[in-house]
């Protein structure tokens, strides 16, 4: 399996971070960074990471199913994650969630038909003092108002 030169360098460097004979430790970081480039954890990626860290594909599968950020199916180009945990709830994060579902016509972990936007109701993302908060891919948005969410989603529908 081939990766971009930048990712190849990164994966090679990650493998060097752990003590001799403990390369399995590189598995989760490798999956995370490769997933960002490929779009999902594919069968091919599982085999490749297993080979590089010296475990079986089954062992990789056992680990990846535990972690909520590793996903086997592609998400939308823009993965919109809305926090409804306690601090965001107190600033109506749950209403933002309902608003996004209604506007896009999709639910939790679903993708719009054009593949542009996916939605996920997430647990605390560490933005509690700046609630309600959402994340689009890795970017944080704080103090989100219903109007801002509306504009944001419109922008994501149109942007390239």
């Amino acid at each position: 399996m081939t990766f971009s030169p930048q990712l190849e360098t990164k994966l090679g460097e990650i493998l060097q971070r752990y003590p001799e004979g403990r390369q399995r430790a590189a598995m989760i970081p490798m999956l995370m960074f490769a997933q960002d480039e490929i779009g999902a954890v594919t069968d091919e990626l599982i085999d490749e990471v297993a080979r590089r860290v010296g475990v079986t594909p089954l062992q990789v599968n056992e680990v990846l199913t535990y972690y909520s950020m590793l996903h086997r199916k592609p998400q939308g180009k823009y993965h919109v994650q809305i926090c409804t945990n306690i601090s965001c709830l107190l600033w109506d994060g749950d209403k933002l969630w309902e608003q996004a579902c209604a506007k896009l016509g999709i639910g939790h972990k679903e993708v719009t038909a054009d593949g542009r936007i996916s939605l996920e109701e997430v647990e605390c993302i560490g933005a509690c003092s700046w609630a309600p908060a959402i994340q689009v891919n890795y970017d944080f948005h704080h103090f989100v108002t219903p109007e801002q969410l509306d504009q944001l989603l419109d922008g994501l529908r149109k942007s390239q």
């Binding site: 972690y67 560490g126 509690c128």
Partner: protein, 437 residues
Amino acid sequence: MLYNEPSPLETRVLTRRFGLANSASIDTYLANDGYKAFTKASAMTPQAIIDEVKISNLRGRGGAGFPTGMKWSFVPRTSPKPKYIVVNADESEPGTCKDRVLMEFDPHLLIEGILIAGLAVDAHKGWIYIRGEYRYLIDIMDKALAEAYAKGWLGKNIQGTGFDFELYTHTGAGAYECGEESALLESLEGKRGIPRIRPPFPAVVGAFQCPTVLNNVETFCAVPPIILDGGKAFADLGVPKAGGTKLTCLTGHVNKPGVYELRLGFPVKQMIEEVGGGIRNGKKFKAFIPGGSSCPVLTAEECEGATMDYDSMAARKSMLGSGGVVIMDEDTCMVKAALRIMRFYAHESCGWCIPCREGTTWLKKLLTRFHEGYGTRQDIDLIGDLSRNMLGRTFCPLGDAAALPTESIVTKFRQEFEDHLHGKPCPFEHANRLVAV
């Protein structure tokens, strides 16, 4: 740019460089006392470093509050195995967003704290385990690490001291459980994040079966000021059994939510009224979570005379926790709050221990039914019973973390549960709807 205006009531020790131009760069750090504590510590004996940390009364800032100097002294320095430093930057306790600002605005402070811990326990390698959602912080930390290597503050023979240290970031992949120290170590090793039985504790058998110092980001960040200004100066900022300051995340129904560095022992009422600007929309204060959703909830009455420190919270049968303060006003439905907190624990329970795996899901179902108005009087007692049956019956504290707030809410706000009985819709949402019309 900072996310919220600082408060004049803050005592800025860890956050003293926040707001400086390019505060995350090594040049800014070096121009503002950066790495001076490492230079000082490198001339001290390991025992003297540990003693200084003990004098400071620094207690773990991740939530458990264990004395840091004592934790470090448990590492067997003479062990032939390598020793490691692991930083818990898996900040995911609901209500908590303080490690984020520390890494974003002063990443070299964390690196320096790790180096000093390395000197103290003879460790030469370390990992910063950062939750996967904080990808931009991994980029910031990686950049800071590269700067430190380039300027000789990491790597071989650091600044001619003869001390070597290799430091790396390690990304998590979305799992609250991995904030628990033993599950974090499993995850670091490339496994599912399930907890380990203890003893042995990580100080003796930690990462890769080797002695390991594992502390929270804020704990490491407190170390350089302790070494630079002396343990006593740090201890004097706090209360007798807990020194220094605490980064406190004010969240929920206050006018000025934000992360503020307050000395330990800061009065709760003053924190809400003056630092937080009082309750939003002039409403009445109803309930308070001192340090993340795992802590038992306090009523407004219980907050009378309370201060933000370990003993004051323990006296009220709660905990200082992680510094994630959640403030709820009179319009908050406590059944809904309990339900949302339980939904979180049911989602995050790793499934290893049956009382937690089953208990959190049962409670989630019960509370959902309750909030929808289908609860029975018997259920109120069942919620308490189920919670109490999880307490102390799991490998790690997640079971307790789910049980404690629930038990406290159902006990202290029983009337609100009664108000949801007999098919009544949620009185709070019902009232709000009437107002909206």
